[in-house]
Symmetry: C2
Subunit: 274 residues, 2 copies
DNA sequence: GTGGTTTTGGAATATTTATTCCATTTCCAC
DNA sequence: GTGGAAATGGAATAAATATTCCAAAACCAC
């Protein structure tokens, strides 16, 4: 009568919980599997749900959910929920109150603007986490890591990103050249066989950036694009395309997500080169 | 027997809830006030608490909490909690799972790096929300709004911020000049009476930036500083000092918070000038 | 202090929610 | 198909939780 199936203890942290979940999901009978899937997809709602709600969501009877909790090693649903209720409070404790206060300064007040930009930045970062394309990123890294020199171009609102990339490449000893358009000098003849281009542009796309990318393409150099949509004009010329979902507030975008992606790219390239 | 005390309906959003809370807190008898205070301080935990827990936290009997909910206009605690349970999911739905997955790519993998930078950016923004000094911001805005021309200087890793500021000022038709150090040209003679300087620098502080700020100071021009600590060398020369708590990951900082603050400042200045 | 009003605490009750149990069904090896 | 084991659904029960109610206490104006 011994239950030797599950000598493992119940997960005590959310990390462990996630691991355990992916670990056991295969090889679970139909109903229990529905539970696992639904819970995995709604892990953040466990803390505020009832057994009945979860069961309805997974389209199983409540008893199935109970069994599932027990398979995971808990005595029941309540014990499992406890984990999530306690862990709950991710940076949120005071943050939203504070934002509210800032906004109370009145629409258009400096503090209210700040609150809006902070919020836009945060949303952008979260959206990036959700939408980032790992494959494209890996490919971009490999393209740039193999280049003799990286030519960085980004103008107008993409310029800050380009300059930060240039700074990071410099710090990581990656040979890089920033095409900044100073003096309307055109440096396209600096492109040499073995080099690669990293082009950054957002709608309305800057002509010079697209032209440089096209030029590189014509000469057979690989191009990595950092842009806002898969339909961007850079898509045609790029060997790897990274899109970044930036939330605008008013006429200006936050750049938070773009910069996060850009630095990750640059650092990855830097370490790939050793 | 009519209850004409509370013709107002129960708050239907968290915003309204907060407003209502601050509105009624004064003029509440002792126990109810304890409830109000404790709830205000733990607003983010309502969704995952029971009446008994809340009551214990506020050091009142459960019935006091019930009464409090009813005063707010709800039929009881459950109805009030419903609001918070539903509103719960602030961008978090899938975000943390996703971050975890990105990190699973392995330490040092491009995705893992990206996850780290996203997280650093988010933490920085939250920290900024908590620590932002509204008074200093308002003062910085008034100083810059009154200037004939704004001189922006920021080098090395502050350079991207400076360029973005220059971009925003340009878009908002604020006369601004970016001191970029191109060609090692020194533009300090461009400073004229009536102008103001916006200097950005982080440890290790760039000499040129400090020098320009000092120069402006000597000539009696106002200086606004955007820096990392109140002890920054700019503190001595600045008329308004904005500090920004940026979370580093590895050798690089995210800039998210700095940029959010910078744009808010620029847009506020732009609209203050009409 | 007195009478009336408001506030309070806690015990009693109602409701919701979790959990167990077992008869029925499904699955699978033979 | 048959027998045995595993899985399932739902009804019954147990536990936790919310809610009400009222007697006692505190408060306040006079």
């Amino acid at each position: 009568m011994d239950d030797l199936d599950l000598p493992t203890a119940a997960p005590a942290t959310i990390e462990e919980f996630r691991d355990r979940l992916t670990e056991i999901t295969d090889g679970l009978p139909r109903r229990l599997r529905q539970c696992a899937d639904h819970i995995a997809a709604n892990i953040d709602r466990i803390a505020v749900s009832t057994v009945a709600e979860l069961a309805a969501g997974a389209d199983v009877p409540p008893s199935a959910v109970m069994r599932f909790c027990q398979i995971l090693g808990y005595s029941g649903f309540s014990e499992m929920q406890k984990l999530f209720r306690e862990a709950y409070a991710p940076g949120f404790p005071d943050y939203s109150t504070r934002l509210k206060n800032l906004k109370d300064g009145g629409a258009g007040s400096p503090s209210a603007l700040l609150a809006e930009f902070i919020e836009a930045g945060r949303l952008s970062l979260e959206a990036l986490a959700k939408s980032a394309d790992e494959t494209a990123l890996a490919q971009a890294v490999s393209v740039l890591a193999g280049a003799d020199m990286v030519h960085v171009i980004g103008l107008r609102r993409a310029f800050p990103v380009a300059t930060y990339l240039a700074y990071v490449f410099e710090k990581m000893s990656v040979p890089a050249m920033l095409h900044d358009g100073v003096g309307k000098l055109d440096h396209r003849h600096a492109l040499r066989a073995g080099d690669a281009v990293l082009a950054i542009t957002f709608a309305p796309y800057s002509e010079e950036t697209i032209a440089l990318a096209q030029d590189a393409r014509d000469r057979g150099l690989p191009v990595v694009a950092l842009t806002d949509r898969p339909t961007s004009p850079l898509a045609r010329t790029a060997d790897a395309i990274l899109t970044v979902p930036e939330v605008d507030f008013g006429a200006f975008r936050s750049l938070s997500a773009t910069i996060a992606l850009a630095i990750a790219l640059a650092v990855a390239v830097g370490s790939a080169r050793g």
